[in-house]
C-alpha cells in the first residue's frame, strides 16, 4: 500500500495543483482566467518532474510552458477582443462528455494501469531505475549519432516551419 511520508505528501500537493489547475481551465468562462489556471496547472507538472528526479525537465517546464507558452496564450486571448468575455454556452454536451471521460478513466485504470503497474501487476516487481541522468548526459545523447541526433536536428526544421507558417498566418499585411 502507499505509505505516508514526505514524498507522497509532496506528490499529493503537486497532483492537486496540476489537476485543480486543469479543472480551473475547463470550468472558467473567462479565457484570461483560464489561461492563468493553465499556468497554475503547468507549475504543478514542473513539481512532478522534480519528484521524478528530472530537474532539467522541471526547468524546461517553467521556462517554456509557463514563461513562453503561457504568455503566448494570454497574448492570443487578448488579440481576440470579443472572445475574452463570452458568457454563452456553445456546447450542451458537457454531461455526456463527462460520462465518457469518467468511463475512459475507469477503463484505463482497470484495464491498463492496474494489471501492469498495480500491486500484483506484471511490472510491479520491476525495480525503479535509480539512474539519474545529468543534463550533460542528456546533451551527449541528443547529439550522439547512435542515439537521438536525427530527431534533434529534425526539431530545428520543425520549428523553422512552425515559425514561418505562424508568421505568414498572423501578419496583418502582406510584405
Amino acid at each position: 500500500m502507499v505509505e505516508l511520508n514526505a514524498h507522497t505528501v509532496v506528490f499529493a500537493i503537486f497532483s492537486i495543483i496540476t489537476l485543480g489547475g486543469a479543472v480551473g481551465v475547463v470550468w472558467n468562462r473567462n479565457l484570461v482566467s483560464s489561461s492563468y489556471w493553465l499556468i497554475f496547472s503547468l507549475f504543478g507538472v514542473a513539481g512532478l518532474f522534480v519528484l521524478l528526479s528530472a530537474p532539467f525537465l522541471a526547468a524546461v517546464q517553467v521556462l517554456v510552458y509557463i514563461g513562453a507558452v503561457g504568455i503566448l496564450i494570454t497574448f492570443s486571448v487578448m488579440l481576440t477582443r470579443g472572445m475574452t468575455q463570452i458568457k454563452d454556452v456553445f456546447n450542451r454536451q458537457s454531461a455526456a462528455s463527462g460520462v465518457v471521460a469518467v468511463l475512459l478513466f475507469v477503463v484505463l485504470l482497470v484495464g491498463v494501469v492496474l494489471p501492469v503497474w498495480g500491486p500484483s501487476g506484471a511490472l510491479s516487481s520491476a525495480p525503479a531505475s535509480d539512474v539519474v541522468a545529468t543534463t550533460a548526459e542528456l546533451g551527449v545523447a541528443l547529439v550522439d549519432g547512435s542515439q537521438y541526433v536525427l530527431p534533434f536536428e529534425l526539431v530545428s526544421l520543425l520549428l523553422t516551419a512552425a515559425l514561418l507558417g505562424a508568421i505568414v498566418i498572423a501578419r496583418d499585411q502582406d510584405k
Binding site: 550522439d144 516551419a161 507558417g165
Partner: protein, 512 residues
Amino acid sequence: MGEFDLLSSLPAIAPEIGLTILIFVAVLLDSFLHESQRKGIAYVAALGMAALAIVPIIPGWAPEPGPTGDYLFWGGMIRHDALAQIFRIMVLASGALTCLMAVDAKRVGNKGEFYTIVLVATLGASLLSASADLIMVFVALETLSIALYCLAAFKRNDSKSTESGMKYFLFGAFSSAIMLYGFSLLYGFTGQTNLYALAQFMGTEAFANNAVPVLAAMVMVIVGFGFKISAVPFHFWTPDVYEGAPTPVTAFLSVASKAASFAVMMRFFIAVFPNDLVIGDYVIQNFWVQFMAAAAVISMTLGNVIALSQKNIKRLLAYSSIAQAGYVLMGVAALQATTPLGAERAVASVGFYLFMYTFSNLLAFAVIILFSEATGSETIADLAGLNRRSPWLALTLTIALLSLAGVPPAAGFFGKFYLFTAAVEADLVWLAMIGVLNAIVGLYYYLVVIKVMYVDRSEDEDKPIPTSQTYRWVLGVATLAVIILGTVGAQVIFEWAVQGAGTLFALLPGVF
C-alpha cells in the same frame, strides 16, 4: 547498438540531407529575393526534390545492412530498407509536383514561405516512411502535421482556408495526443522505444496475462494513424480541410501525407505486433487485422456512398480519398497471410497502389487548380463543356479519374487488381468482394464528372483555360506516369515493390 560509423550512416538519410540543404537555401532566397522573383524558389525546390527522388533508383545505392547487421541506422531511429526508398520516391515526387502546381496559384505561389513549408513537410514525410523508433515516428509525424496545419490555413484572408487549418489542427492535435499516450504506454510496458525491440519484450513471460493493456495501447496508436490516412471513423476533418485548404496543399495532403502514414503504419504493426506475438492465448495480429478489415469496409462504403451526392469537385475527391484509403487498408489487412510471399505481396500491393494513387490524384488536382484559377469555380457543374474549352485538360482529367476508378489502361486498374489479389490470397475473399462492389459504385461518380466535361454544354465554351508551360510539364509527367504504371510499368514496379517488401520482413527475428 555498436560503434557509430558516420560514413556508412549518411546514405541512409541522403534524401533528408538534400532536403535540409534545400530548406536552408529556400529560406535564404525568400529573405533576399525581391517579391517578384520569389516564384523562382518553386523551381529550385521542385528540381531539387525531383533530383533527390532519383537518388534511390541509382544502381549501387540500394540499401545495404548497416554496421549493426540489420537495416537500422542512426541508433535505430530509422530503418533504411528498400520499401522506405519506394515511399520516399513517392513523397519526393509529390513534393516536387506540388511546388510546380503552386506557382500560378493566387496568394500562394508568390510566397516563398509556401515552398519552404512544403519542403519541411516532405522531409517529415520522407523520414516518417523510414522511422523505426517511437520517438522518431512521433517527431517526424509532427513535423509533417504541423507543416500541413500551416499550409492548410495559408490563405489567411480566406475564411474557408483558416477554418480548414483550424479544424485540421484541432483534430490533428487531439489524435496525436491519443497516439502519444499509446506510445507512452508501450514505452512504459517495455522500457524500449525501438519498434523492433518492443515486440520481443511483449512476447516474454512477464506479459502473459496482459493482452488487454497491449490492445488498449494498440487501439490508441490506430487512432493516430487512422486520422492521418483519413480512414472512417477518423475522417471527419477530411471534406472540410480538402475543400478549404489551397488546392495545391490539398493535393499534397492527399498523397504525400497519406503515403508516408501508410508506410509507417505497416512498419509499425509488422514490427510491434508481429504474427508470432502471442500474449496469453491471443494472437495479437488477429486483432489489428480485424480492425483494418473493418475500417476498410466502412471507409470504402461510406466514402463512395457520400461521394455520390457531392457538388464540389474538391469535396468529391475528399470522399473519394476516404474510399481509396479503404481500398489500401484492404491490403494492410491482407498482412494476415500465412506465407511470407503472401505477406510480401500484400505490402507490395499497398506500395504499388499508393505509388499510382500519388500520380493519379496529383494529376486530378493539377487540372482542378488550373480550372479554378481561371474560372474561380470548384463546382462539378461548371466543368461542363471542358472538352470544347480545353480538350487536353479534359483528357488528362479523364485519365486521372479513370485511374482513380480503376479502369484500364490507367494505372488504377493494376493497383486495384493487386490489392484484390492480395486480399484473396490472404483468405479475405469476402473483403475483396466488398472491394469490387465498391469499385463499381465509385466508377459511377467518376463517370458523372467525365460525362459533365464531355456531354454537357456551357456558355463559356469559346474561352479556353490558359495553361502555362510549367503546368504542361506537370500534366505531362503525371499523365505519362499514370499511363506507364497502367501498362508496361505495372509488372516492373510491382516486382520492385515485392522485393522492397521482402526487406521489410528481412532480418526480423521470429517472423516467418
